[in-house]
Symmetry: C2
Subunit: 449 residues, 2 copies
Amino acid sequence: MTSTLSRAIAHYPNRFDPGVVSKLPEHLQETIRRRSKALGPGYTLIYREPVEFVSGYGAHLIDRDGNDYLDAYNNVPCVGHAHPHVAEAVARQMAVVNTNTRYVQEALVDYAERLLSTFPEELSKLSIACSGSEANDLAVRVARFHTGGEGIIVTRWAYHGITREVASFSPTLGAGSPLGPNVRLIDAPDPRLVAPGSTLDEHMRQQVRGAVDDLERHGYRLAALITDCAHSSDGIFTDPPGYMRAVVEEVHAAGGVYIADEVQSGFARLGESMWGFSRHGVLPDIVTMGKPMGNGLPISGVVFRPEICEEFGRNVRYFNTFGGSSIPVAAGAAVLDVFEKENVQQRVLENGNALRAGLREITKNSPYVAEVRGAGLFVGVEIVKDRQTLEPDRALAEDVINDMRDRHILISGTGTSANTLKIRPPLAFDSADVTRFLETFAEVAKNRL
Amino acid sequence: MTSTLSRAIAHYPNRFDPGVVSKLPEHLQETIRRRSKALGPGYTLIYREPVEFVSGYGAHLIDRDGNDYLDAYNNVPCVGHAHPHVAEAVARQMAVVNTNTRYVQEALVDYAERLLSTFPEELSKLSIACSGSEANDLAVRVARFHTGGEGIIVTRWAYHGITREVASFSPTLGAGSPLGPNVRLIDAPDPRLVAPGSTLDEHMRQQVRGAVDDLERHGYRLAALITDCAHSSDGIFTDPPGYMRAVVEEVHAAGGVYIADEVQSGFARLGESMWGFSRHGVLPDIVTMGKPMGNGLPISGVVFRPEICEEFGRNVRYFNTFGGSSIPVAAGAAVLDVFEKENVQQRVLENGNALRAGLREITKNSPYVAEVRGAGLFVGVEIVKDRQTLEPDRALAEDVINDMRDRHILISGTGTSANTLKIRPPLAFDSADVTRFLETFAEVAKNRL
């Protein structure tokens, strides 16, 4: 079956190969066969032996045999799997009423004000949608409307979502999903790409300038640069912060807007602050968010500087049936409660630092680990054939991922060559989880790295 | 404030004019002012005096003063506001675990099989997304990929959603949201548009042919015709069924696919069957659904004939984070439980017939009612200045809508001239609700119609 798959699909990091279903435990075989028959295009399981969970708590998932897996991969259940405070808030709202934004809803206004209070005051308008894709789609629609431009700049292996528009600037989706003629790619901020004598700031500035020039040469004015503040699909590049100042300067000089895609990096994922852009000391024109926003309830958001979206609002109807309705908003508010009550950001900072320090210690002498990088609880470990040439070793990365899975710890892969371990646990990940993770990783590393 | 609004926004049926906020009860004023300040572009309240609800049950909504409103407008809470079976199913799942489609989930497979069993067997593949917009976006992406064409045909005042792609073929969004150069508009199936001596079938066939010819003349091959089986935004046109056979023949002859948008018309809304297309005796290539699917939990779906989506699946990655995750699926399955247990479809058929019969009786001598139309619990009452000329009377329609609201019954408006009363209650609407609705409508009609 693999042979009939396009390169785009084959690239999918850590994907399960349905061709080997018969080698799986029997109870999985039947479900996977039924699943393949009933589900539509593009569904992919992960791991050589896929996993099924029947319950969860904190950063832990329990399979049907009662095994406790440490989840070091899922960012959606940010405050923890089945967090009781969120579960109760949703249950309470479900039992009462769910109205949409055509009706007055005090809880929506309370939530909007509360979420906006985590932003610089210039970012003062919130729209709510269902998914990160919808959020990015709206953000770019507004950017196009505001600027009158069409050009879009993203990083070389960016992923921003799956609507037709957003897929057109998500190069990670591969050749089967063509980029728009109005889309230009720039390097992710990988300090190793910087020419000797230059700086990351200067490198990124030149990247943006080159893209703007090429767009203009083809008749496109810039609408927006949109980047994931964690550069997750590019391979996780977060540091050193600061380079975004040069990027934003160039974007504004070209008449475009800067959209910070915080779907992955937002909600304290990077530890030092609630939003990834803050680390760079820049002010976005638009910020999008999604995955962790409702701890699993579908909810996403777009935050605007008012001058960016006013004209759009006067001219374009936009009603999102579910976006801003009572139930997702109840989930979103409960997540913010937990952030305050449990001091989530500080926990992320501390456990993220401990996790990266431990990983660096374990891998410091490995010839196959190019780098341990990231911020907060978003960590990449780049696996290579040779530390000098940096030649990617996807096969080894997937061996490590699956060894970890067999030892009941969930991580996955990312990056242009799918050779970077992606470690991105629920933010409920605590110090005991860090210890368990590092102990298990050390065992795997002893064999593999 | 109204004067600065574009025609596109001003057209919004039954919209609240924020310029008159100071005339509202005090508790609403403050919330609406805060709301205007905090929310992003495009948010619109409805009714001259907007409403706020604190609880609901069946087809009823309760305001903060304890008034019981009869909801004859909201289609999302299809099995009833805060239906206990759905609320419990979601609460139970929230307290256990929520995983996405990268993991094996038996409940997802069970749900997919169960939902697919309501379709003809040729429609055998289900994809799950978050919103109707995402569903229609994916449907058209797949149609473009499958056909290699780009042309899209919709009805003249269609609404299919709010992603950039879907907005490009949603003419109801108005001039602020431009149609794509690849989009052509045809008449909604209004029998009154048929020339003497012709038939609705023939009229619709000629409409499609004309659109295909014009697309081809501009270099576009047809990708898809997508229509709402209830033609909700066009003004609610459901009958006589059958004309879709000619439409689908023409679409297939031109190499396109037929997408049945069942976001409004699906889940037994039209009474005779689970899906609106069944009334026409046609087989769609793709079916999309949304709003009522999870009774308020964000979930939508796309059902494909396998030969339409296979190649897309082999070439394009598509992962929808929330789509198909455990919580929305639990809601979707609970909705299907209620459909079976409460025999929802039969209830819709009976109460819909009674509702339309009653409305026809009340309005039969009114010079201002052109037509009572629709099927099941989707009813349009077209309000005109003159029954002969059919000149639309939006102002009178909005008087009726707001008189009904003041008598605690919720309906709204639709149609190219926003002059058709849109009556589209939760499917929980029972015979007592029909009686209450008709009694109140008769009072309003006595003054207005």
